[in-house]
Amino acid sequence: MVVWNEENVAHLLSRAGFGGNDKDVSKYLRYGQSVAVDRLVDVKGSPSKGPGKADFDKDDLSSLRAWWIKRMVKASTRRVQEKMCLYWHDHFATGVDVVKNNLWMSKQNATFRLYGLGSFRTLCIEITRDAAMLDFLDGRISTATKPNENYGREFMELFALGVSDLNGVDNYTQSDVEEVTRAFTGFEVVSDVGTFNPARFDGGNKTFFATKPHQAGPANFGVVDTAQVPLATNNAIDAIFAHRDSDGELTMPRFLAKKFWEYFAYPAPTKALLDELTPDFIAGGFIIADLLRAVFMHDEFYSTAAKTQSVKNPCEFAVHAIRALGASTNAKGLPDYFEEMGMSLFEPPGVNGWAQGKSWLSSGQFLARVEFAQALAAGRSSELKLTPKKVIDSRLTSAAAVTDQLLGRLGIASHVPADARQALIDYFGGATNFNDSTVLEKKVRGAIVLMLALPEFQIH
């Protein structure tokens, strides 16, 4: 059991959502670990869908982005939901620059919001017949006569299994890609909805993973389309989920547990750790919230490694800053800042999603973070508004106390080295009256920029 203290609660809120303020921390501290985690992950799917028209208008796309960012800023009980939306957007990365249809992107985003914590099987089925994905990975042009392997291959490689298992043994062969591709044929996009069309489906028998001991075929695999007539007695996605690795364990749960751990905790977890995360997920029939709960309940999730080895992505960085400082925003200008920081929502660089880790902090993008920090700290309009008097206790009379209060708000007080803290204190130039408007406007706002530019605020 971990000690349920403020530091651990803040860490949980930073990873499970976009960071919390003092009030959040004390609330989730009161709950205790188990109740806190349950309250976070046991959220019913929300059908909320953003704006977005069926074309590729840039202003329209910008409103969709702003709509989503605003949800992240505001999310309270549903913070995990928006975080999982972002995770699944990265996992099932789809780019509007290819799809060129804001409506389809908006619908996919709603799908992540609705199914993002429920059954992984349902989510995979929904994504398989998702209009944006059908376009992005060519599912809509993959027919019985002209199969296109793009989706089938990426489904196994990036979405469900990985090229090889934890022992480095290949999970599938080219022939498996071809067979899976046949099972995924039959979809097209009609009136902005991914639709199954039997005339395009390859109804012949397919053999999955013939070289594996647990051979799943041959059978007429397809994908059950819940809205329409089941098209095959065997669901191809179930067959893929039944794949076992060279240890004889189910491949998908280990694969997904690894992806979750690397996203929410730290890189390169051990096999033993992963196997501690998956039992509930497997027993419950692949409910995503179960896997997430296992991550957040694990002692290792509260280790120093889990708190210091990941770089916040620009969303996490910016939204956390806004939330922690109690700033308000209409989010209209934020998509541009996000783009400069290297994260254009709905436009990941490729099907792999965004590269995680240190590449977020390449020099140009790091400077863009400082620019965002400056805009936030100097925010005096509805685009971004921050009130210095609300951020600090203006009755304080020493720069050291104000510095500590601000670092505390940002959740980095205990990590900043002493000399860096001293530099921040010195920045106030001996100010003692924190009711003075010049001190508030110039030095308090200024110090916020500097703190948001510290290494400790870039990582979690």
Binding site: P267, Q309, G350, A355
Partner: protein, 433 residues
Amino acid sequence: MATTRREFLQRSAAAAAALVAPHPIMQAMMGGVANAMGPADAIFVLVQLEGGNDGLNTVAPIDGPQRSIYETKRPNLKIPAVNLLNIGADPVTGDDLGLHPSMSALKALYDLGHVAVVNGVGYPGQSGSHFRSEDIWLGGISSSQNFSSGWFGRYLDVDQPGALVSFDCDNTLSPLFFGDDSNVLAFKRLSDFALPDDPLYPDLPAKKATLQDAYDAEATDTSGLQMTVGVSGQALLSKLDDYQAVSTSWSSNLNGIAGNLAARLKQVASIIRHDYTLASPNPTGARFFHVRLGGFDTHTKQGALAGRQADLLFQVSQALSAFYGDMVALGVGSKVLTMTFSEFGRRVSENGGPATAGTDHGAASPLFVVGDPVVGGVFGRLPALDTAQLENGRNLQWHTDFRSVYATVIQRWLNADPVPILGGAFPMQGFLT
């Protein structure tokens, strides 16, 4: 915390390996890379022509059987043979080829042997989509692979991990540079590279001094990712000073040349001048540059002797030639290699009538490699123009894989092994030896 740092490094096996790899020159001496010839501080400038440049009117046939097919398929857009700037015979067909008449400046460089024209460059499975084809060119991948990193990003990962040696002359970083451990600056204008300040309560000197002290403390007193970020913060602040010291007021050949490309190359030239000629105590260290010029998507009213494409080619020719002139004048001509590319060429047959003719998305097209190190001349071949030999009956068939051009640059100019970067071996081209 030592474990933390080690684990972080392990995240990128390639980057970690590169940290302990010998210097490229040493590698060459050890036989790791054959025929390496680029200087250790080789400069490479990649010029991207966005929208799909019509290669057939950039390098057009002057005579022979190709010429008559060209005239038939392009009744309105054909460049009269008499106007084309003759660059000699196609190495395969033997027929004469000519540059677009607006490219006289580049032709003059060609005549001096400083320009290689590589014809018929492309890849199998041309998609015809701007976005997809840019991904393929920038990623250095095959048309069946999905994009995950840029070819130059992978080069940096292997050869210059983490080093701040690249400058993308644009506000957002090109996918060209995406990698595990590439560190690239991206600014449209040098003046954009500055710490921001509060316009109502300016306090920049104090902020900068505080950040400097804070990053110094982070870099020495912490470990793991904290320290890594602290160190790169230090580097960023010091680069800021270096770049702000770069002057763009000097008698560059690019002064007075209209258009976007010249404006961007001027910044590149200014950085190189700052680092190499002024013996500045604070060099930026930038050696790899990417600049873009848009507007080549000439579906309509492309023009022949004059018009949209002529204006763009004029700009490219003037800017490349003036940039070359700057490099020679600065005494770094032997260190600088410049290469152009476009995501695809355009259809052989024009569309529309006399007043509106343009060309639609095509496939193979030529590219230019410019600089003193270049072996001048025509490489590759102009693809056959008769319908039977066109891709899908409409597009120029590629003969030189674009990755073969990259491989030549990586091996013979950047002194690295192209095989792991490009995921396979591609034949060397003769424009570098």
